[in-house]
């Protein structure tokens, strides 16, 4: 892990928002959002997880770090001003019970920066509510995030039901478990499974490019 991430994790644990903001803003000057998320935030939070696993920090420390991380994300990446004609729509949600939403919040930002209108639901969205919003709003993409193994049995239900909606949205699955296991058995052949944030970053770029080519 790089020095910056370690330092950032330290400030998260101290509850030092000002210093955390300073590091992130410095890093932001010559990096894309994708790079800031993948090389600064993600390793910092994973390091927090390691410290907890090794009982070097307790649950309260972990929660404080999480809260500070969340606040810093919101301050550094506030409401995104979208371009003129935003026609692409995406919904982003965590499976029922899933509380790990920080990663998805970053993914949401990437969608926004690529001119998507998004509805980002944070943690724990039961399927029936996801379905009712999707039926009404008709997003072309629905992104699902899953981090904890005991939420996995629900994944298939989400994928099957959302993929069979009348407007046939594309389902993209990601989160900590997508990087660790083969999630294909719990998806369909149409589902896109993405191991990490760089994969979705590239996909969003390609999609944008495809649109431009089609427009010519």
């Amino acid at each position: 892990m790089n020095q910056n991430s370690r330092e950032l994790a330290g400030f998260f644990l101290e509850g030092n928002i000002d210093e955390a903001l300073r590091i992130v803003r410095e890093c932001q000057r010559d990096s894309t959002s994708l790079e800031v998320f993948s090389s600064l935030f993600t390793p910092a939070m994973n390091y927090i997880g390691e410290l907890w696993e090794n009982s070097e920090i307790n649950v309260a420390d972990e929660h404080l770090a999480t809260a500070v991380c969340d606040m810093v994300l919101s301050q550094v990446f506030p409401g995104y001003v979208k371009g003129e004609k935003v026609t692409k729509k995406a919904m982003l949600l965590c499976l029922e019970g899933e509380q790990h939403y920080l990663g998805l919040k970053m993914i949401n930002r990437l969608f926004e920066e690529n001119d998507w209108a998004t509805k980002y639901f944070g943690s724990n969205l039961p399927l029936e509510y996801a379905v009712s919003t999707a039926v009404e709003w008709k997003p072309s993409v629905i992104a699902l995030s899953v981090s904890i193994v005991y939420h996995l049995p629900k994944l298939k239900e989400y994928v099957m039901e959302l993929e069979s909606l009348p407007h046939k949205p594309l389902i993209i699955v990601g989160g900590r478990l997508a990087g660790k296991y083969d999630l294909r058995p719990y998806c369909s052949e149409n589902t896109l499974i993405m191991n990490d944030i760089t994969t979705i970053g590239n996909w969003l770029g390609q999609y944008q490019l495809g649109e431009k080519v089609n427009a010519i």
Partner: protein, 128 residues
Amino acid sequence: MKKLPIEELAISVTEVMYENDPTLMDRYGDKGRRKCIEDNEHHFKHLQTAYELQNGQFFTEYALWLNGILSKYGMTEELLIENFKLIDDLLEREYKEYEATNDLRNYLASAVQSLQESALTAAEKGRG
């Protein structure tokens, strides 16, 4: 598939543990007992998940992960192995008819084996 009565099972296992070793109550009190029930709920939750996904690897990895955490608090793998054996006894005794019992017992056995193997590797590293 029928859901396991997780809370009930966790309480039964904890009761047996405390009956087998009365000093536990003296050492850890009621708080320890509650924590033990909570831990066992997690064990059953992961067993159930492995069954629903038809993949014992998920339970074994959970056991190794948890054992890593417990070892930081100075606990040996014996404790977890003992706990899993009690779960196995309970399933054999009272859930013979239950459709998942065979699979669950297999997952427990593989997890115990992996815990023993990892303890051996750790001991060898310690010596080497």
